[in-house]
């Protein structure tokens, strides 16, 4: 069982900075965004099945590119911030 040392907790809180908190928000927000991007890829599959269209392939590629971009920005936020 993990024991939380109250002194460590106090140290963590003392060392918190405004930009540290903002980084946390960025990362959590981008993780949620990534999950949403995955849902979009899934939903676009459902949409393209509903109506056959010449643009279906391009739209699917766009959805995957969007997912890759979301992964890229999340990695950038973790590494750079």
């Amino acid at each position: 069982m993990i024991k939380i040392d109250p002194n460590n907790l106090v140290d963590i809180i003392r060392n918190l900075t405004l930009f540290g908190v903002i980084k946390g928000f960025f990362v959590v927000g981008l993780v949620m965004y990534l999950a949403f991007s995955l849902v979009i890829v899934r939903q676009i599959k459902s949409m393209t099945e509903a109506v056959e269209d010449e643009f279906n392939g391009i739209i699917s590629i766009l959805a995957w590119m969007h997912l890759l971009l979301a992964i890229g920005v999340l990695v950038l936020a973790i590494v750079v911030l």
Partner: protein, 222 residues
């Protein structure tokens, strides 16, 4: 701009090999000739006559006569908003209100903002592109995406429809010639609607003629 699939092609009825394949093809050809239409794709795919594409739950002896989307001008709101969202970071940064923020936060913040903008534009485009109203030789099909998670598909058999009606009016609608088509049905779903579609009077005409032709065929016992 108007895109025409097969400019100069003869009307579908005159194309060899079409007649005789099925009585429904003859019905479609007759209705298209009577209404002065020919296979075409206009207004960025918002008005497609005999597009030759398929949709979910389409049956073997069923063909799409009209595939309609809302008129492209109805997208002007979100397109303008997207443009504003694209230029907003540049404007805000030029005012200097983020001068105290480290460059790496500006970079990630900007990228995140553009990602959200892309998501918004994609979502709006997808609603428009995949929310379609389809007229086939047998029924009307209304596919609506309320949001990315929720889809409704409404069907109305052409045998079960009452007289279709159209509604238009106002400066923009009159200028760009689009409006709503409302078809009352005798089934559980009281109405089926195509909102903001181009040339609603033509749509109503084609639906009426198709229903009439089907009724004639049924009366003849075909």
């Amino acid at each position: 701009m108007t895109d025409v699939y097969s400019a100069g092609d003869p009307p579908a009825a005159a194309q060899p090999g079409r007649a005789g394949k099925g009585w429904w093809k003859e019905v479609i050809d007759k209705v298209l000739v009577d209404t002065g239409e020919e296979p075409r794709k206009s207004l960025m795919g918002a008005y497609c006559v005999y597009p030759g594409s398929r949709f979910i739950t389409q049956q073997e002896d069923e063909e799409i006569v009209l595939l309609l989307r809302a008129h492209p001008i109805t997208n002007i709101g979100w397109v303008l908003l997207t443009l504003v969202m694209l230029i907003l970071p540049g404007i805000l940064l030029s005012t200097g209100i983020f001068a105290a923020v480290p460059g790496k936060f500006i970079l990630v913040g900007r990228l995140t903002w553009y990602l959200v903008t892309l998501m918004y534009a994609m979502e709006r485009f997808l609603y428009w592109h995949y929310s379609v109203f389809i007229v086939t030789n047998e029924r009307l099909v209304d596919i609506d995406f309320e949001n990315l998670m929720y889809r409704t598909i409404t069907y109305a058999n052409l045998n079960h429809i009452e007289e279709p009606a159209m509604m238009t009016g106002g400066f923009i609608r009159s200028m760009f010639q689009y409006g709503d088509v409302v078809v009352t049905t005798a089934s559980e779903q009281p109405t089926i609607e195509a909102l903001g579609v181009p040339w609603p009077q033509k749509v109503v005409d084609i639906i009426s003629r198709l229903a009439e032709e089907l009724e004639k065929r049924r009366a003849k016992g075909e």
